[in-house]
Amino acid sequence: MPVERNETLAVNRSEDVVLVRAKTRDWSISLGFTIVEQTKMVTAASELARNLVVHAGGGTVRLETINSEQRRGLRLTFEDQGPGIADIQQALRDGFSSKGGLGLGLSGSKRLVNEFDISSTPGEGTRICIVRWK
Protein backbone atom coordinates (compact mmCIF):
# COMPACT_ATOMS: atom_id res chain seq x y z
CA MET A 1 0.00 0.00 0.00
CA PRO A 2 1.53 3.38 -0.97
CA VAL A 3 2.60 5.49 1.97
CA GLU A 4 2.37 9.24 1.38
CA ARG A 5 4.22 10.33 4.47
CA ASN A 6 5.33 8.86 7.73
CA GLU A 7 6.78 9.84 11.07
CA THR A 8 7.92 7.82 14.08
CA LEU A 9 7.62 9.00 17.68
CA ALA A 10 9.22 7.55 20.79
CA VAL A 11 6.80 7.01 23.68
CA ASN A 12 8.50 6.49 27.02
CA ARG A 13 6.69 8.69 29.53
CA SER A 14 3.09 9.78 30.04
CA GLU A 15 4.02 13.25 28.69
CA ASP A 16 4.83 11.57 25.36
CA VAL A 17 1.23 10.32 25.13
CA VAL A 18 0.13 13.96 24.95
CA LEU A 19 2.36 14.45 21.89
CA VAL A 20 0.97 11.31 20.22
CA ARG A 21 -2.57 12.67 20.68
CA ALA A 22 -1.59 16.08 19.28
CA LYS A 23 0.14 14.54 16.21
CA THR A 24 -2.75 12.15 15.56
CA ARG A 25 -5.17 15.06 15.71
CA ASP A 26 -3.05 17.12 13.26
CA TRP A 27 -2.76 14.25 10.79
CA SER A 28 -6.48 13.43 11.08
CA ILE A 29 -7.37 17.05 10.35
CA SER A 30 -5.06 17.17 7.32
CA LEU A 31 -6.79 14.03 5.96
CA GLY A 32 -10.13 15.80 6.25
CA PHE A 33 -11.58 13.59 8.99
CA THR A 34 -14.80 14.86 10.58
CA ILE A 35 -14.65 15.94 14.22
CA VAL A 36 -16.16 12.59 15.31
CA GLU A 37 -13.62 10.61 13.23
CA GLN A 38 -10.78 12.74 14.58
CA THR A 39 -11.88 12.20 18.17
CA LYS A 40 -12.22 8.45 17.71
CA MET A 41 -8.77 8.12 16.17
CA VAL A 42 -7.15 10.38 18.78
CA THR A 43 -8.81 8.43 21.61
CA ALA A 44 -7.65 5.09 20.20
CA ALA A 45 -4.13 6.49 19.80
CA SER A 46 -4.21 7.74 23.39
CA GLU A 47 -5.19 4.29 24.74
CA LEU A 48 -2.58 2.37 22.76
CA ALA A 49 0.20 4.89 23.39
CA ARG A 50 -0.50 4.77 27.12
CA ASN A 51 -0.38 0.97 26.97
CA LEU A 52 3.19 1.29 25.65
CA VAL A 53 4.15 3.30 28.75
CA VAL A 54 2.16 1.30 31.30
CA HIS A 55 2.71 -2.26 30.09
CA ALA A 56 5.97 -2.21 28.14
CA GLY A 57 7.90 0.67 29.75
CA GLY A 58 8.02 2.46 26.40
CA GLY A 59 7.89 1.89 22.65
CA THR A 60 7.35 3.67 19.36
CA VAL A 61 4.43 4.92 17.31
CA ARG A 62 4.65 5.23 13.53
CA LEU A 63 2.13 7.49 11.83
CA GLU A 64 1.47 6.96 8.11
CA THR A 65 -0.88 8.48 5.61
CA ILE A 66 -1.80 5.63 3.27
CA ASN A 67 -3.48 5.39 -0.07
CA SER A 68 -5.52 2.49 -1.41
CA GLU A 69 -8.04 2.22 -4.25
CA GLN A 70 -8.80 5.92 -4.25
CA ARG A 71 -9.28 6.13 -0.52
CA ARG A 72 -6.92 7.60 1.96
CA GLY A 73 -6.44 6.72 5.55
CA LEU A 74 -4.35 7.12 8.66
CA ARG A 75 -2.41 4.11 9.88
CA LEU A 76 -0.79 4.03 13.32
CA THR A 77 1.60 1.26 14.36
CA PHE A 78 2.46 0.79 18.04
CA GLU A 79 5.49 -1.36 18.73
CA ASP A 80 7.25 -2.34 21.95
CA GLN A 81 9.80 -4.80 23.26
CA GLY A 82 7.82 -5.38 26.45
CA PRO A 83 6.66 -8.58 28.11
CA GLY A 84 4.17 -9.36 25.33
CA ILE A 85 0.62 -10.69 25.72
CA ALA A 86 0.22 -14.43 26.35
CA ASP A 87 -3.53 -14.60 25.80
CA ILE A 88 -4.69 -12.05 23.22
CA GLN A 89 -8.34 -13.19 23.36
CA GLN A 90 -8.40 -12.51 27.09
CA ALA A 91 -6.66 -9.13 26.69
CA LEU A 92 -9.29 -8.12 24.12
CA ARG A 93 -12.21 -8.98 26.42
CA ASP A 94 -14.16 -6.00 27.82
CA GLY A 95 -13.30 -5.42 31.45
CA PHE A 96 -10.10 -7.43 31.55
CA SER A 97 -7.25 -5.44 33.03
CA SER A 98 -3.87 -6.48 34.39
CA LYS A 99 -3.04 -3.02 35.77
CA GLY A 100 -6.22 -1.83 37.52
CA GLY A 101 -7.66 0.15 34.62
CA LEU A 102 -11.19 -0.10 33.27
CA GLY A 103 -10.12 -2.92 30.97
CA LEU A 104 -11.55 -1.19 27.92
CA GLY A 105 -8.45 0.31 26.31
CA LEU A 106 -7.65 -2.49 23.88
CA SER A 107 -11.18 -3.66 23.12
CA GLY A 108 -12.46 -0.07 23.01
CA SER A 109 -9.74 1.06 20.60
CA LYS A 110 -10.66 -1.83 18.31
CA ARG A 111 -14.23 -0.51 18.14
CA LEU A 112 -13.03 3.05 17.41
CA VAL A 113 -11.14 2.19 14.20
CA ASN A 114 -11.80 0.46 10.86
CA GLU A 115 -8.93 -2.00 10.99
CA PHE A 116 -7.21 -3.44 14.02
CA ASP A 117 -4.35 -5.90 13.89
CA ILE A 118 -2.48 -7.24 16.89
CA SER A 119 0.44 -9.63 17.14
CA SER A 120 2.42 -10.42 20.23
CA THR A 121 5.11 -12.83 21.36
CA PRO A 122 5.56 -13.30 25.11
CA GLY A 123 9.03 -12.14 26.11
CA GLU A 124 9.61 -10.31 22.83
CA GLY A 125 7.01 -7.62 22.49
CA THR A 126 3.75 -6.46 20.95
CA ARG A 127 2.79 -4.79 17.69
CA ILE A 128 -0.60 -3.20 17.11
CA CYS A 129 -1.63 -1.61 13.85
CA ILE A 130 -4.79 0.46 13.45
CA VAL A 131 -6.25 2.15 10.38
CA ARG A 132 -9.04 4.64 9.98
CA TRP A 133 -10.17 5.39 6.41
CA LYS A 134 -11.53 8.71 5.24
Binding site: S14, V18, K40, G101, L104, G105, G108, R111
Partner: protein, 284 residues
Amino acid sequence: MAVKSKSLAEIMKQHRSEILSGWLEYQKNGATSTNGALKREEIESESREFLGLFSGALEHDGAEPDMRSSAWSEVREYLDQFSQSRAQAGFSPSETATFVFSLKQPLFDKLKVAMGESQTLVDEIWRSTILLDSLGLYVTERYQKAREQTIARQQQEMIELSTPVVTLWEGILALPLIGTLDSERTQVVMESLLQKIVDAEAQIAIIDITGVPTVDTLVAQHLLKTVAAARLMGAECIISGIRPQIAATIVHLGVDLAGVTTKASLADALRVALDRNGLHIASR
Protein backbone atom coordinates in the same frame (compact mmCIF):
# COMPACT_ATOMS: atom_id res chain seq x y z
CA MET B 1 54.44 20.97 19.80
CA ALA B 2 54.35 22.92 23.05
CA VAL B 3 55.88 25.92 21.35
CA LYS B 4 53.18 25.97 18.68
CA SER B 5 50.29 25.83 21.07
CA LYS B 6 51.81 28.46 23.29
CA SER B 7 51.59 30.70 20.28
CA LEU B 8 47.80 30.58 20.32
CA ALA B 9 47.85 31.57 23.98
CA GLU B 10 50.53 34.13 23.20
CA ILE B 11 48.57 35.67 20.36
CA MET B 12 45.44 35.82 22.50
CA LYS B 13 47.37 37.57 25.23
CA GLN B 14 49.08 40.08 22.99
CA HIS B 15 46.24 40.94 20.66
CA ARG B 16 43.21 40.51 22.88
CA SER B 17 41.82 44.00 22.38
CA GLU B 18 42.19 43.82 18.57
CA ILE B 19 40.56 40.40 18.50
CA LEU B 20 37.77 41.77 20.69
CA SER B 21 37.03 44.67 18.38
CA GLY B 22 37.16 42.34 15.36
CA TRP B 23 34.82 39.92 17.08
CA LEU B 24 32.34 42.65 18.02
CA GLU B 25 32.33 43.76 14.39
CA TYR B 26 31.50 40.21 13.22
CA GLN B 27 28.81 39.83 15.86
CA LYS B 28 27.26 43.10 14.83
CA ASN B 29 26.87 41.82 11.25
CA GLY B 30 26.23 38.21 12.21
CA ALA B 31 23.39 36.18 13.63
CA THR B 32 23.83 36.90 17.35
CA SER B 33 22.43 40.38 17.13
CA THR B 34 19.73 39.89 14.47
CA ASN B 35 17.27 39.55 17.29
CA GLY B 36 18.01 43.09 18.37
CA ALA B 37 17.09 42.22 21.94
CA LEU B 38 20.56 42.89 23.27
CA LYS B 39 22.20 46.24 23.68
CA ARG B 40 25.59 46.86 22.12
CA GLU B 41 27.14 47.43 25.55
CA GLU B 42 25.82 44.10 26.80
CA ILE B 43 27.36 42.20 23.89
CA GLU B 44 30.58 44.08 24.39
CA SER B 45 30.86 43.33 28.12
CA GLU B 46 29.93 39.66 27.55
CA SER B 47 32.48 39.30 24.78
CA ARG B 48 35.18 41.05 26.80
CA GLU B 49 34.58 38.83 29.82
CA PHE B 50 34.54 35.65 27.75
CA LEU B 51 37.77 36.57 25.93
CA GLY B 52 39.49 37.21 29.25
CA LEU B 53 38.50 33.79 30.58
CA PHE B 54 39.28 32.13 27.24
CA SER B 55 42.75 33.67 27.13
CA GLY B 56 43.43 32.69 30.75
CA ALA B 57 42.36 29.10 30.12
CA LEU B 58 44.62 28.84 27.06
CA GLU B 59 47.53 30.04 29.12
CA HIS B 60 47.00 27.44 31.83
CA ASP B 61 46.17 24.49 29.57
CA GLY B 62 48.69 22.19 27.91
CA ALA B 63 49.78 21.72 24.30
CA GLU B 64 46.42 20.37 23.11
CA PRO B 65 43.74 22.58 24.68
CA ASP B 66 40.84 20.51 25.98
CA MET B 67 37.76 22.36 27.25
CA ARG B 68 36.87 19.48 29.57
CA SER B 69 40.05 19.95 31.62
CA SER B 70 40.16 21.90 34.88
CA ALA B 71 41.87 24.88 33.22
CA TRP B 72 38.56 25.57 31.47
CA SER B 73 36.24 25.34 34.47
CA GLU B 74 35.72 29.13 34.64
CA VAL B 75 34.95 29.26 30.91
CA ARG B 76 32.42 26.46 31.31
CA GLU B 77 30.79 28.20 34.26
CA TYR B 78 30.57 31.41 32.31
CA LEU B 79 28.99 29.62 29.33
CA ASP B 80 26.49 27.84 31.62
CA GLN B 81 25.27 31.19 32.84
CA PHE B 82 25.40 32.68 29.36
CA SER B 83 23.34 29.84 27.84
CA GLN B 84 20.78 30.09 30.57
CA SER B 85 20.27 33.82 30.15
CA ARG B 86 20.00 33.46 26.34
CA ALA B 87 17.45 30.63 26.73
CA GLN B 88 15.37 32.77 29.08
CA ALA B 89 15.59 35.76 26.75
CA GLY B 90 14.14 33.60 23.96
CA PHE B 91 17.17 33.27 21.68
CA SER B 92 17.40 30.20 19.43
CA PRO B 93 20.13 27.57 19.97
CA SER B 94 21.87 28.68 16.75
CA GLU B 95 21.89 32.32 17.76
CA THR B 96 23.30 31.31 21.12
CA ALA B 97 26.05 29.08 19.73
CA THR B 98 27.01 31.65 17.11
CA PHE B 99 28.39 33.75 19.95
CA VAL B 100 31.24 31.22 20.22
CA PHE B 101 31.53 30.29 16.54
CA SER B 102 31.80 33.92 15.46
CA LEU B 103 35.08 34.18 17.35
CA LYS B 104 36.72 31.97 14.72
CA GLN B 105 37.04 34.57 12.06
CA PRO B 106 38.76 37.37 14.04
CA LEU B 107 40.99 34.79 15.70
CA PHE B 108 42.02 33.19 12.39
CA ASP B 109 42.64 36.63 10.91
CA LYS B 110 45.07 37.36 13.71
CA LEU B 111 46.78 33.96 13.42
CA LYS B 112 47.31 34.54 9.73
CA VAL B 113 48.96 37.90 10.31
CA ALA B 114 51.11 36.56 13.14
CA MET B 115 52.33 33.40 11.45
CA GLY B 116 52.10 33.89 7.71
CA GLU B 117 50.77 31.16 5.41
CA SER B 118 52.54 28.09 6.72
CA GLN B 119 51.99 24.61 8.03
CA THR B 120 52.17 26.03 11.55
CA LEU B 121 49.27 28.28 10.72
CA VAL B 122 47.20 25.38 9.37
CA ASP B 123 47.92 23.35 12.51
CA GLU B 124 47.02 26.23 14.76
CA ILE B 125 43.83 26.99 12.90
CA TRP B 126 42.82 23.36 13.05
CA ARG B 127 43.46 23.23 16.78
CA SER B 128 41.45 26.42 17.39
CA THR B 129 38.60 25.13 15.24
CA ILE B 130 38.27 21.97 17.28
CA LEU B 131 38.36 23.96 20.48
CA LEU B 132 35.79 26.55 19.43
CA ASP B 133 33.50 23.92 17.93
CA SER B 134 33.45 21.97 21.15
CA LEU B 135 32.76 25.15 23.13
CA GLY B 136 29.98 26.04 20.71
CA LEU B 137 28.38 22.62 21.05
CA TYR B 138 28.73 22.86 24.81
CA VAL B 139 26.72 26.08 24.73
CA THR B 140 23.98 24.41 22.67
CA GLU B 141 23.78 21.54 25.11
CA ARG B 142 23.57 23.87 28.11
CA TYR B 143 20.98 25.96 26.34
CA GLN B 144 18.84 22.84 25.83
CA LYS B 145 19.13 22.00 29.50
CA ALA B 146 18.00 25.47 30.53
CA ARG B 147 14.99 25.21 28.21
CA GLU B 148 14.03 21.87 29.68
CA GLN B 149 14.17 23.33 33.17
CA THR B 150 11.89 26.15 32.09
CA ILE B 151 9.41 23.67 30.62
CA ALA B 152 9.44 21.50 33.74
CA ARG B 153 8.78 24.57 35.89
CA GLN B 154 5.91 25.67 33.68
CA GLN B 155 4.35 22.19 33.87
CA GLN B 156 4.52 22.38 37.64
CA GLU B 157 2.90 25.82 37.61
CA MET B 158 0.09 24.58 35.41
CA ILE B 159 -0.68 21.72 37.76
CA GLU B 160 -1.05 24.23 40.56
CA LEU B 161 -2.95 26.81 38.56
CA SER B 162 -5.50 24.79 36.77
CA THR B 163 -8.00 23.64 39.36
CA PRO B 164 -10.43 26.38 40.32
CA VAL B 165 -13.57 25.16 42.07
CA VAL B 166 -16.25 27.85 41.85
CA THR B 167 -19.52 28.27 43.69
CA LEU B 168 -22.43 28.74 41.27
CA TRP B 169 -25.12 28.93 43.89
CA GLU B 170 -25.53 28.06 47.53
CA GLY B 171 -24.74 24.34 47.73
CA ILE B 172 -23.83 24.07 44.04
CA LEU B 173 -20.17 23.89 42.97
CA ALA B 174 -18.66 23.80 39.51
CA LEU B 175 -15.30 22.50 38.39
CA PRO B 176 -14.45 23.58 34.85
CA LEU B 177 -11.71 21.29 33.54
CA ILE B 178 -9.45 22.47 30.73
CA GLY B 179 -6.76 20.60 28.82
CA THR B 180 -5.07 17.30 29.36
CA LEU B 181 -6.20 15.23 32.31
CA ASP B 182 -2.96 13.46 33.07
CA SER B 183 -3.00 11.46 36.26
CA GLU B 184 -0.96 13.87 38.39
CA ARG B 185 -3.24 16.79 37.74
CA THR B 186 -6.43 14.75 38.04
CA GLN B 187 -5.36 13.74 41.53
CA VAL B 188 -5.10 17.42 42.51
CA VAL B 189 -8.44 18.19 40.89
CA MET B 190 -10.17 15.36 42.70
CA GLU B 191 -8.77 16.31 46.10
CA SER B 192 -9.57 19.99 45.79
CA LEU B 193 -13.13 19.26 44.68
CA LEU B 194 -13.77 16.89 47.60
CA GLN B 195 -12.32 19.42 50.05
CA LYS B 196 -14.43 22.22 48.61
CA ILE B 197 -17.56 20.04 48.89
CA VAL B 198 -16.90 19.76 52.63
CA ASP B 199 -16.01 23.46 53.06
CA ALA B 200 -19.07 24.70 51.16
CA GLU B 201 -21.42 22.00 52.46
CA ALA B 202 -22.37 21.46 48.85
CA GLN B 203 -25.01 18.97 47.72
CA ILE B 204 -24.19 19.12 44.03
CA ALA B 205 -20.91 19.45 42.11
CA ILE B 206 -20.87 20.02 38.36
CA ILE B 207 -17.75 18.76 36.57
CA ASP B 208 -17.57 20.50 33.21
CA ILE B 209 -15.38 18.81 30.59
CA THR B 210 -16.07 21.21 27.69
CA GLY B 211 -12.35 22.08 27.67
CA VAL B 212 -11.11 18.48 27.68
CA PRO B 213 -10.38 17.41 24.09
CA THR B 214 -9.99 13.68 24.67
CA VAL B 215 -11.89 11.42 27.04
CA ASP B 216 -10.19 8.04 27.00
CA THR B 217 -10.57 5.22 29.51
CA LEU B 218 -8.05 6.74 31.96
CA VAL B 219 -9.87 10.09 31.99
CA ALA B 220 -13.21 8.27 32.32
CA GLN B 221 -11.87 6.23 35.20
CA HIS B 222 -10.71 9.40 37.01
CA LEU B 223 -14.12 10.99 36.51
CA LEU B 224 -15.95 7.89 37.75
CA LYS B 225 -13.74 7.72 40.85
CA THR B 226 -14.37 11.39 41.64
CA VAL B 227 -18.11 10.89 41.26
CA ALA B 228 -17.98 7.82 43.54
CA ALA B 229 -15.94 9.62 46.20
CA ALA B 230 -18.28 12.63 46.17
CA ARG B 231 -21.24 10.29 46.50
CA LEU B 232 -19.68 8.71 49.60
CA MET B 233 -19.66 12.18 51.12
CA GLY B 234 -23.34 12.67 50.33
CA ALA B 235 -22.87 14.96 47.34
CA GLU B 236 -23.98 14.33 43.79
CA CYS B 237 -21.90 15.02 40.69
CA ILE B 238 -23.17 16.06 37.30
CA ILE B 239 -20.78 15.80 34.36
CA SER B 240 -21.45 18.48 31.73
CA GLY B 241 -19.86 19.49 28.46
CA ILE B 242 -20.28 16.12 26.74
CA ARG B 243 -20.08 17.09 23.06
CA PRO B 244 -21.37 14.80 20.27
CA GLN B 245 -17.90 13.50 19.35
CA ILE B 246 -17.12 12.72 23.00
CA ALA B 247 -20.48 10.93 23.42
CA ALA B 248 -19.88 8.83 20.29
CA THR B 249 -16.37 7.92 21.42
CA ILE B 250 -17.42 6.99 24.96
CA VAL B 251 -20.11 4.68 23.58
CA HIS B 252 -17.64 2.91 21.26
CA LEU B 253 -15.07 2.63 24.00
CA GLY B 254 -17.70 0.88 26.09
CA VAL B 255 -17.35 3.12 29.15
CA ASP B 256 -20.46 2.86 31.31
CA LEU B 257 -21.59 6.30 32.49
CA ALA B 258 -25.17 5.13 33.10
CA GLY B 259 -24.93 5.72 36.85
CA VAL B 260 -23.84 9.33 36.39
CA THR B 261 -25.99 12.31 35.48
CA THR B 262 -24.52 13.84 32.33
CA LYS B 263 -25.50 16.92 30.35
CA ALA B 264 -24.40 18.49 27.08
CA SER B 265 -23.86 21.97 28.50
CA LEU B 266 -23.05 23.64 31.80
CA ALA B 267 -26.32 25.58 31.53
CA ASP B 268 -28.32 22.32 31.38
CA ALA B 269 -26.41 20.98 34.36
CA LEU B 270 -27.08 24.15 36.37
CA ARG B 271 -30.80 23.88 35.61
CA VAL B 272 -30.84 20.30 36.90
CA ALA B 273 -28.85 21.28 39.99
CA LEU B 274 -31.20 24.18 40.83
CA ASP B 275 -34.19 21.91 40.27
CA ARG B 276 -32.83 19.30 42.69
CA ASN B 277 -32.39 22.04 45.29
CA GLY B 278 -36.01 23.12 44.81
CA LEU B 279 -35.15 26.32 42.96
CA HIS B 280 -36.06 27.56 39.53
CA ILE B 281 -35.22 30.55 37.42
CA ALA B 282 -38.18 32.50 36.08
CA SER B 283 -38.33 35.56 33.86
CA ARG B 284 -39.95 38.67 35.25
